[in-house]
Amino acid sequence: MKEMSVVKKSIITAVCLALCVVLPQAFHAIPNAGSVYLPMHIPVLLCGLICGWPFGLLCGLAGPALSTLFTGMPPVAVLPVMIIELAVYGLVSGLIMSLIRTRKTYVDLYISLIIAMVTGRIVAGLARAFIFARGATTMATWAASYFVTSLPGIIIQLVLIPTIVFALMNARLIPRRYPKSA
């Protein structure tokens, strides 16, 4: 397996960032999809998994801001919490992916994804509770907003992201993680 060059990783990060702006717009065409599908999470998680933590972190930090700049969504008021949440996704997914090697690509992907998704939600909940809306959030509302209402989004991401990674490998657009493995 050939490692991708920094130039290539940078451009992949750039297209993931562009998709942070474009995907939520595309999902608007689908009735009330934005809050359910969490479209912006997908490019950030993919960027972390494929390009590593520094690129994933950048994608998470800049993606929501760029989207606000271009489309007005997410609204400025929720931007800080969202940036923190997405930055953690990009960072953690990349970190875990570089730490574990089970010899099975999909196992690596799922472990990294799940840890990233849980950490991101915990950190975002903490940030919301301690910095942005002191006292106004309880454990219950946190759990409700981050796990229950976004459950469909979580399931979709768990289906979608590995599918995309394998499709990219088959198309030879990214190198295989393990040569000739499933």
Partner: protein
Amino acid sequence: MNRLPTGMYLPGDSPIHRLDPRVKLLGLFISVTAIILVRPLIGYGVILAFLAFTVALSGLSIKIALNSVQRLSWFFLVIFMMNTFFYSPENAWFSWWIFTPSSAGLMQGVDVVLRVVFALVASNVITSSTAPMEITNALEALISPFKLVGIPAEQIAMILSIAIQFIPTFSEETEMIRKAQTARGARFDSKKLTEKAAAVLPLVVPIFLSAFKRADELSIAMEARGYRSASGRTRKKFAPLKVDDYFALLIVIAICILQILIR
């Protein structure tokens, strides 16, 4: 897609359009801080007057300045209701189950919604009057001091520039893919959760494949044009700030300080 995206750059030649993008970005940051800090009623008046003045000066219509406010109406309604009904059980009008509507909550709801609207107007004015590339360049200038702590400002600026450059291409392509899959019978409006997940696959998988293919081709094209890394390249030079720029910066800083003083 038969609607313009909000916050899209509208070329013009107003005093706001002509401001240095670094000043505009910094100005936006300071004004949003001022909006968060605002406390007494008179403070709202100052912000409102300042925003009205900026919108008038920018030559953009009120409609553009208020762009996306209407689209967010349900979001505002939710914030407003949540605050009204859950804010505080003290001095509630009545209490039923978990609902404790109060006038303090009502005020709080109005307050939050107003702040968000203000921030939206401020960012709409800036994004509508500044070319995205100018914003990236300004960002590069503003984050370049962080190079001292090892953050590669040029590389980040390059990535942002390429991202912005790809946005219109991806928007068109996404729309095309959506239409192609609709014509093939894709159902994006299914109710069942599993079907919902299945319905986004035909849209999202092609978008990523196409985007990564474009990334692949662009990285080859960039290398063919001699790109090695972000360092070792010609440095961008920024024009010095003009009198107008200093003046604009002074106004926003003054407003921000005022908000702190009258809290």
